[in-house]
Amino acid sequence: MANKDDIKFLSNPNIGQKRKKYCRFRKYGIRHIDYKDPDFLLQFVNNQGKILPRRITGNSLKYQRKVAIAVKRARHLSMLPYVTDLLK
């Protein structure tokens, strides 16, 4: 009889595993987020120009706040749109 140790290999244990999210600002030591760099900020908004939540970007709270401020400043200076479709 196959015991428990054998059975666990019958299906690939790596399927369905999510890649661990991380905060890129902490990982790469970015301390300041430039609001004059819309190409960089584009990574934190969706197609409609909305700010992506932390659960998707993986940012830490500290840097998510900074990202949100930078995006809003960029919007004021017309570097990012307030409302749009098909941004990316």
Binding site: M1, A2, D6, I7, F9, L10, N12, P13, N14, R19, R24, Y28, R31, H32, D34, Y35, K36, P38, F40, R73, R75, H76, L77, S78, M79, L80, P81, Y82, T84
Partner: protein
């Protein structure tokens, strides 16, 4: 120096309809204005003509200027903002206070360190991505073995 200097940055968009000289003189007006108020201009960056993300005053493009300066008091800001607000040639402006990281970032950017940093990051990300893929094919490898064992046991 009794009071510490605070660092600020003002970004404004100048109307692109004006002639080249007028645009430059507009920007210079504010730089001189700040200097006359006793501020130290750290850097005056002309970012050039950019496409706006949405129209402002029926214009679809604008000339961006970014002036980094340090001042002892915040009083100059309100004076400068009032002048900016009254100026019809200025389409939009934003003044922010820079923290120490912001100052360092702007410094690095001027010395060309930031661009390289981004490239390194992208390379690191590229390197990081294939790693799990390499690991993935290894995992299914032990799969046939338990099956074979199971068959053997059935027999």
């Amino acid at each position: 120096m009794s009071e510490p200097m605070k660092n600020y940055e003002v970004t404004f968009i100048v109307d692109p309809v004006l002639s080249g000289d007028e645009i430059k003189s507009t920007a210079q007006t504010y730089v001189k204005h700040l200097e006359s108020e006793g501020c130290t201009i750290v850097h005056n960056d002309e970012m050039g003509l950019r496409q706006l993300a949405y129209p402002i005053n029926k214009r679809t493009s604008g000339i961006y200027y970014s002036v980094e300066f340090s001042a002892t008091t915040g009083d100059v800001i309100s004076k400068m903002e009032l002048a900016l607000r009254r100026d019809e040639r200025i389409m939009r402006f934003l003044t922010i206070k820079l923290d120490k990281y912001g100052v360092k970032y702007n410094d690095d950017k001027r010395n060309g360190l930031i661009g390289k940093k981004r490239d390194e990051e992208q390379e690191e990300e590229k390197e990081a991505k294939p790693a799990p893929r390499k690991a993935a094919p290894k995992a299914p490898a032990p799969k046939p073995e338990p099956k074979a064992e199971a068959k053997a046991e059935e027999e």
